[in-house]
Symmetry: C2
Subunit: 651 residues, 2 copies
């Protein structure tokens, strides 16, 4: 297999990157200092006021060390695995022997819970040992296995310790003995995709082709008729664990068609983007062009028809799901934090296949907006749902919006989102750079440095920037020995005016390489300066998005803004932004950990004195000037609870 053609760029490993003080450093540190310890307490059922997770306890019971019943979601194990994965990345960034010791102990426990044949899922071990692999559709065994594998690979890469990797391999081998094309094996695939991308990671770290083959099998089998989920359901007497099959049918599970025939992203948004990520991985490793084309189709559908401006996906609460093209209601949005995380995974994979800024732009959009909006600035509270318009009383009293919260919650019974944010942000270093044979790509502008081998020579590249608040990026290149390679700098789609200087001298940008400025030269000790013009943009949605017609969203750089009641008073829908309105950008260092706010002169619609009537004819409408203040969307709901709005009426 010749993968080079498919895999044009390679992400650098986490160990090669150091994130320095700045926007993202704060987040990585927060995960280490607050989220990881907090989640550890949650997993051990010792946070007062938070519903016990029972996750560690489940492993103890499964290992036969204590007596008890399984408790929590059927996929509760995955919380432990995702925590371990975040811990692994964090250990790379911040070595911490005590945390590593704790992780080792958890790994020992996991190993003890694993059964002799390699099987590992505490729900079935404890509660229904005779029902293993009988309800792939609802019961998340393969999903949990995927998260175990991801954690194992991460921990191995972080520490060099093989114990969890061995557990993962034994489980993967067991799964391989159960599923596959051979007549004796089950023809199944997971209800919640995840194991596909995990198996490719396991293949990459072990070199064991069987894992890649198994991943490809799951992907190829998905959606084939007759549907395995129907065969399986019949075999168990049509007993359901969850009701989503009955409610939303095969598309909820992305099995309405074989994956290569799917042209729109359907069903549960997290599953859909996890599947896409796995498809991209398998495509790259197997050189399967038809899979890449399928990925591209799904990518295009998501990002040009089914994504909020925040990078949020999944516009329907029922099923946490995609609906249809251009259906993006702001106040009943779902836009799960996990789905935004999954979109980053998908984008990152597509970006290696085809280093085009369209992938990096969306990756950045999701990161700066709907991923980090999922966590409070102190790292202690979380949004599962990321709406674009909130009227608190409606969230409380109109049950159609019951899923929308207007304050972040301490933790969730279904705790998928917080550890997902944690594992993504602690591994952020992997998303900034890629290398080609003779190329170094900079996808994201983050105060950071990378050490990479390019054209067989060690090169160190250091970025210094106040991004996303400022568009100036200083890039110092330091090659061990002079090296000729191409430095590719992404010019984000939102930037219409970029300047590049090399050692103080402005260079012609010329035709870009899929949105990347490419500078090919012999590099030694050089400084590149990138200047991204970062005006405030009034964004409009495609006119097919009925909800946003007559409205604009304010964006600066990659950051989408919103109005909050605490700054602007109540009834935000009463505010209109005149077409010619000017914006002022101001960095407020003491606000929300330091953010650029955007101020504008707007108007409030005034109906004059209004009596008792609910409806009136011939109302004289006037407009009163009002100063308004936008804050970054990700930082909303960190002060007084109140209304919030992204899409503001324009006049």
């Amino acid at each position: 297999m010749n993968n080079a053609a498919k895999f044009q760029a390679k992400p650098v490993s986490l160990k090669q990157v150091k994130i320095n003080e700045g926007f993202w450093w704060n987040y990585v540190k927060l995960i280490k200092d607050v989220v990881i310890p907090y989640q550890w307490d949650v997993l051990n059922d010792r946070v007062p006021g938070v519903e016990p997770s029972h996750a560690i306890r489940n492993f103890r019971i499964a290992a036969g060390e204590i007596q008890g019943e399984f408790a929590g979601m059927v996929f509760q194990d995955s919380d432990v695995y995702k925590w371990l994965e975040a811990v692994s990345y964090s250990l790379v960034v911040y070595p911490d022997p005590e945390l590593e010791k704790t992780a080792d102990e958890v790994i020992d426990l996991i190993a003890r819970a694993q059964q002799n044949d390699g099987y590992l899922d505490t729900y079935f071990i404890i509660k229904e040992p005779d029902k293993k692999w009988t309800n792939l559709r609802d019961c998340h065994e393969l999903y949990c296995a995927g998260h175990l594998i991801e954690a194992a690979v991460a921990y191995y890469e972080a520490t060099g310790k093989r114990k969890l990797l061995d557990v993962a391999c034994r489980l993967a081998d067991h799964i391989d003995s159960v599923f596959g094309p051979e007549p004796s094996k089950k023809k199944g695939y997971p209800g919640h995709e995840e194991i596909e991308l995990a198996l490719v990671k396991l293949y990459r770290v072990t070199g064991e082709e069987r894992y890649l083959k198994l991943s490809k099998y799951f992907i190829d089998e998905r959606g084939k008729k007759p549907l395995y989920f129907e065969i399986e359901a019949q075999a168990r007497g049509n007993k359901n664990f969850y009701s989503m099959w009955d409610e939303l049918g095969p598309s909820y599970f992305q099995v309405h068609l074989p994956v290569r025939e799917q042209t729109s992203a359907e069903g549960h948004a997290v599953r859909a983007v996890y599947l896409c990520s796995g498809m991209a991985d398998v495509a790259v490793e197997s050189g399967d062009e038809s899979l890449i084309q399928a990925c591209k189709k799904l990518w295009d559908n998501i990002t040009t028809k089914r994504m909020y401006i925040t990078g949020g996906i999944g516009s329907m609460s029922i099923g946490e799901a995609f609906t249809f093209d251009y259906d993006l209601p702001n106040d009943t949005a779902y836009a799960e934090t996990c789905a935004a995380v999954g979109l980053v995974f998908f984008a990152h994979r597509m970006l290696q296949i085809d280093p085009d800024r369209r992938y990096a732009d969306i990756m950045e959009r999701a990161l700066y907006n709907s991923v980090i909006s999922g966590m409070s600035l102190d790292g202690k509270k979380f949004f599962y749902v990321n709406p674009l318009e909130v009227w608190p009383e409606a969230c409380e009293k109109n049950k159609v919006k019951a899923h929308v919260k207007y304050t972040r919650q301490p933790w969730f019974g279904c705790a998928c989102c917080p550890p997902n944010v944690a594992r993504l942000l602690t591994s952020l270093g992997k998303y900034i750079y890629s290398t080609g044979e003779n190329e170094l790509y900079i996808h994201l502008y983050v105060d950071s440095e990378v050490q990479a081998k390019i054209t067989e020579k060690e090169v160190k590249v250091k970025q210094q920037t106040q991004y996303p608040w400022d568009g100036k990026i200083a890039i110092d290149i330091c090659a061990e020995r002079e090296a000729e390679f191409t430095l590719l700098l992404r010019i984000p789609g939102w930037c219409k005016d970029a300047k590049v200087r090399v050692n103080g001298e402005e260079i012609e940008i010329g035709a870009m390489n899929k949105g990347y400025v490419s500078i090919k030269r012999r590099w030694g000790k050089d400084r590149v300066e990138l200047l991204l013009s970062m005006p405030v943009l009034k964004m409009r949605a495609n006119p097919n998005v009925r909800e946003d017609e007559g409205r604009v969203a304010v964006q600066r750089g990659p950051v989408v803004y919103c109005l909050e009641e605490v700054d602007n008073g109540s009834n935000l829908n009463n505010i209109v932004l005149p077409k010619g309105s000017k914006f002022e950008v101001e960095y407020e260092k003491d606000l929300l950990n330091g953010v650029c706010v955007i101020k504008a002169e707007a108007e409030r619609e005034d109906y004059g004195p209004w009596g008792e009537e609910l409806y009136e004819a011939d109302v004289n409408v006037t407009y009163k000037p009002v100063s308004i203040k936008f804050i970054p969307y990700f930082a909303w709901a960190n002060r007084a609870p109140g209304e919030m709005m992204v899409w503001v009426r324009e006049k």
Copy 2:
């Protein structure tokens, strides 16, 4: 008791009124010709493609005449009773011996199903005979009894036949033996209000005070602590029939407070307005000022804070319920047809207590808009839900809007709305006029005539009008002998310019009597002409209604208008109505059974050529002139399926 002070006006009986050819005559005829026969077939399970009602069959089983199981909703009996009530009114308007014979046979069957002690509810007789009166909260026994009583009173008044009235009295007597303040009796009240207003009807027709007392008891007991529903639930081991108690709590049932302490309309909208109607009836008959005050508070809350411009109430699908003040989402609206019918009941009662146009205005608003929008123009299909904005694809694919249909449905498993519309429209004659001691009120302008005794003299009044398409009403008065009385003509709140002529001579309107022009004189053979100026009105909602800000609704006379895709193309939210736009009214006799349409010059927002992107910065917005056409809201969804919108963006 001196009721005169409370009961300032009295509705005339249906027998005194004749509706002549015109707007409403079409509906009354449609009910007789189409709806009543169709529903009879449904009740007998013989409409292909419609889920069997099983309602008549349930009575046969309960009467011991056939074997079988109960089927249908727990309140299935009420469909038969509501049909009988509609038949009763129809027999007054259109005598029909064959229909009367069918009704007599159904009544015989009902009588045979009644048990010796007077008990009658086929669900419990057939299915849970030992569980009678153990779950008032969920199981609708008293609700069904109420509908039986209403049907019995109507049939007695229509035909003079007592059989069903005797059944109703026996059931009411039985209920009176089970519920009441005496220590041996249960302290309950219905989960779904209805029997309160029915018992007052029974009291009025029989003169039996016990029925009034029992009604008052149900109303007074409601919401007292400890809650009967909790006591009752505990006694049956907390078994639920429906889950609404757990989902929405006491306010769903209007038991969160004693009724006199309730200041806002809460919970299931139909229940709330049925309760209010019963409260008003009891208040009038018992001279209870505190109950009248409670009614007024709830009326004000509904009509000034929780009602759509169409007269629709209940803005939330979950629980078919009220939410909170000014929460009136257009696209997820519930606005059940039955709730609009109930609002007419409530309005009509308040109007007799206090003949103020505020009550008649709302009664008219509901009648012309959200009541008749519930039925297709051919009388064969029905809306349960009456949204103010529809995007068909969203109704199909975004489950948050799954309750919203964009084509009327042939019938419903829970078939409350169609027979409710039928019984209201066939009895419309009762809503047009009231009489006082020396007064004749005209509340509604309907081509009709009334024969009434005023000041001991027979007076005949005949209206001729093309209302609601035209504001000219000719009223001919013909007194048997000259009689001095006051004719009170309602000047609707929407009318800012009215003229009145008596025998060709314009009279000074002067100070109105709560929105009624009063003309006191000796009447013999006289002609009054009323000229209501009926311009097209641009309506605005109270600015606290977040959903409608920046939008206007078009209304002419009592009729609210909407845009439909079939006339205006898709993407209706892209249309903006300039502030100074002019309207043209045109009567189209071949359109939708003949309606006035409203045409206007508007604009479509144009973003120019739009590429593949979902979001774009600095879009140049222009406006292209476009002619648009509004049709009456009630007539939407009678042609090609498509988008619909009431609140249109204003520029």
